[in-house]
Every structure is written in C-alpha cells, then in structure tokens.
C-alpha cells in the first residue's frame, strides 16, 4: 500500500504534540501542590513518559490493538512490535506507517496514567507509584483501549463512539483517580497551590498539545482534522470562560486557576466528540464542562476523598459529560463515517454512549481497587508520616525544587 506523506507527517507531528502534554501536565500539577512536593509531582509525569514508552512497545500496544481476543483484549502477536513496521496497517490508518500510528497511540497510553498521579500527590511512595503505573497501564488502559478502538473491540462493534479518548483516557483515569485516592487515604494536611503561574503555563501547553490529541485523531490531514481542531479550541475557551464565571458567582472573584482548570475541563469534554460535532455544539459542550466540573469539585470534599488535584472532577466528570454529549450532538453532517445523535433524531447513540460510560466506570473502578489493594498489601502505598511532613522531594528523591523554603 502506498504511503500518504501528508497524512504521515500530520500523524508524526501530532504524536509529538501529544508527547508534550505529559510534561505539560507535570507543570500543571506541580503548581497545584505545596512547594515541598513540586519536584516529585513533576517527576511523576516525566517518569510515566519514560516507563509507559517502554511498556507500550513491549506489550502495551499489542494488548490494546493486536488481533482481538473475543473483543476484550488484543493478542500477543505484536509483542515487542513484531510485525509493526513502516508499512501501513489499513485496519487502523491507511496510508500511514503502522509504526507512526503506534507512536501516536503510545502518547495517549503515556498521558492517561500520568493524569491519575494528581489524585495521590504528596503522599504516595515512589515504588508504589511505579508498580501502580505499570499494572494499571496493562490491566486497565490496554483492555479499555481495545474495547473502544481495537478492531473487533466490543464497544466499537456495539456502536459506541469515542473520537479521541473520552472513555479510554478521561473516564478511565478520572474514576481510577477517585478509587486510588479512596484506598490510599487522605493527606496529613492539605496544602495550597504553591505556584499558580506554573499551573497556567501547564494548562496553556496542554491546550497546545491537545490539537494533536484531537485533530490528530482524524488520522489524516483533512477537513475532519480541521473540524476537530476548531471545536477543540472553542470548547477549551468556553470551558475556561464558564468555570471562571461560575466560580466568580460562587466565590466572588474571577480566578486564574479557575480559568486554567476550566480550559482543561473543556478540552476533556470535547475529546470524545471532536470528530462528530459542529462548532456551535462545542460551545454548549464547553459551557457544560465548565459548569459540571466546577460543581464536581464542590462535591469532592463532601465525599471526604482526598483526590488531591481534582482528577475525578475534571477528567472523570468532564469525560462522562463529553461522552454523553457526543450521544446528544453527533451529526453525520460533520463526519460521514459517524452516526447521528439524539438531536439529529437518533436516540440509540445516546443509549450506547451511556452503556460505554457505565462499562468504563465499572471496569476502571473495580480493577483499580484491586491493583491498589495488591500494592498496599505488598510494598505499601504511602511514605512514612515524617517523610510526608518533610515533603516527597527531600524524603523520596533527596532533592528540592527551590533553594529558599
């Protein structure tokens, strides 16, 4: 099969854009923690980038995208990328090297467990974090990616749609974050964000990388990619404007952190819908994301679960809203290969989306509880109390982020 050089270039550039999102997430999270945990929080994201990059080429990719085993998981045929080379795989990306498609998917597999690290920030031991990431990427991420995107995956066959990862990336990480935070327990003391400028910088870089995440998911440099690009930008903007406004109504002042968190909420919500909805619909999706995710942050303290950086509220709830909104607003006028949603006269899609949401919540939640419990009973989850008070930068890594405490 001939290569399409334009599409190949776009996929490779998109993979690089998505790669940037993981260190960007590190900055976003590091600004939200106390100064004694800034470096360890940055390292969590950077380390996941390294760890999952190797895990994915060895066995992650084949479990997610290899020949389907009953629609549940990929076979081991492509372990170590055997048979994954410069020739295209027409099942996934015609005209694009299979290796380029794998690289693009690898960056999604990288950022998803990195998202969860915000839930157990400032108290998890580094060993537990490594084990969790490796197990979660294998046992939770790979199967869900196969269900939704793998050829023969049961949710794909069922007819649920997810353009760039509302279920695979955001619901799975958000729900897992809540469960992990529940099992690991609360921090000894809550800290204030130590550097909001770092968080706003991280949000800006995430927004930039998200163009690769969503527009790259068109897997071609075409009109669908352009639609995904514009709805991504619009929903991010509306998410930021809405969160800032709702928090202004609630707390009396427009917040810089609120704008940053709202932009990410808008980006999360448009992710499953980016290749299926119109630009006006993305305004409504961004509005909903900024509202429901902010309200979810208010609910979280009442649950008495210390999801330190609101991963569940932004990714779990934002992803759920986005996946449901796809069932409401999808239109074949945007994507002829897609399906119509409720407002285009097809209520079946919304039902399928809700089933996909429920399956992802259930599987990610249960499996994460099992993984975290296993780690708790073997190497332990938390650092010692005096190490937590000292901060993870010094106690776990023997380094500090800043010379002046």
């Amino acid at each position: 099969m001939d290569l399409d050089t334009g599409n190949t270039a776009w996929i490779l550039v998109s993979a690089a854009l998505v790669m940037l999102m993981t260190p960007a997430l590190g900055f976003f999270y590091a600004g939200l923690v106390g100064k004694r945990n800034a470096l360890s929080t940055l390292l969590h994201s950077f380390f996941v980038l390294c760890l999952v990059s190797v895990q994915f080429v060895l066995w992650g990719y084949t479990l997610a995208f290899g020949p389907s085993q009953g629609g549940l998981i990929g076979g081991l045929d492509w372990a170590g990328l055997a048979g994954v080379g410069p020739e295209p795989n027409p099942d996934y990306a015609p005209g694009v090297p299979h290796l380029a498609y794998m690289a693009f998917q690898m960056m999604f597999a990288v950022i998803t467990p990195a998202l969860i690290t915000g839930a157990f920030a400032e108290r998890v031991s580094f060993k537990a974090f490594i084990l969790f990431t490796l197990l979660w990427s294998t046992v939770v991420y790979a199967p869900i990616a196969h269900w939704v995107w793998g050829v023969g995956g049961w949710l794909r066959v069922f007819g649920a749609i997810d353009f760039a990862g509302g279920t695979v990336v955001h619901i799975s990480s958000g729900v897992s974050a809540l469960v992990a935070a529940l099992v690991i327990g609360r921090r000894l003391a809550r800290t204030e964000p130590h550097d909001a400028t770092m968080t706003v910088l991280g949000a800006g870089l995430l927004w930039f990388g998200w163009f690769g995440f969503n527009a790259g998911s068109a897997l071609a440099a075409n009109g669908l990619a352009a639609n995904a690009f514009v709805v991504t930008n619009t929903a991010a903007a509306m998410g930021a404007l809405t969160w800032l406004t709702v928090s202004w109504i609630h707390r009396g002042r427009p917040s810089a952190l609120g704008a940053a968190l709202g932009a990410v909420a808008g980006l999360v919500a448009i992710t499953p819908a980016a290749g299926f909805v119109t630009v006006p619909a993305s305004i409504v999706i961004g509005l909903g994301a900024g509202t429901v995710c902010y309200l979810a942050t208010l609910l979280r303290p009442r649950l008495r679960i210390d999801d330190a950086l609101d991963v569940w509220a932004v990714h779990g709830i934002g992803g759920t809203w986005g996946a449901a909104a796809t069932g409401l607003f999808a239109s074949v006028a945007v994507n002829g290969a897609g399906v119509n949603g409720l407002f285009a006269g097809n209520p079946d899609l919304l039902v399928k989306q809700l089933i996909a949401i429920g399956a992802t919540w259930l599987y990610a939640g249960v499996m994460t509880a099992v993984i975290v419990k296993i780690i708790q009973l073997t190497v332990g989850l938390r650092v010692r109390e005096d190490d937590e008070v000292l901060g993870l930068d010094r106690s776990q890594h023997g380094e500090i982020a800043y010379q002046h405490d």
């Binding site: 406004t245 202004w248 119109t278 630009v279 006006p280 619909a281 305004i283 409504v284």
Partner: protein, 42 residues
C-alpha cells in the same frame, strides 16, 4: 444549536458586566498614612 451557542456566550458576557468583584483590601490600619515609610528628604 446556533441559538443555544449565542445565548450561552451572551449569558457569560452579561454575568461579567453585572457580577461584583469581592474586594479583599487590607484593613484600614494597614494602609493608614502613618504605617507607610517616611518619605526620603530631598
């Protein structure tokens, strides 16, 4: 959908116009003239 999109944005703009900003100005004693440093003599 276009109407919902325009209405959403209009609602936000209206909110920015009417919402007050809660001030957290320091207490009067902290900003009293006597609390400020003495001016440097020319």
């Amino acid at each position: 959908m276009e109407i919902a999109a325009f209405a959403s944005f209009a609602a936000l703009v209206l909110a920015w116009i009417v919402l007050p900003v809660r001030s957290e100005a320091p207490a009067a004693a902290e900003t009293a003239p006597e609390a400020l440093p003495e001016p440097v003599a020319a």
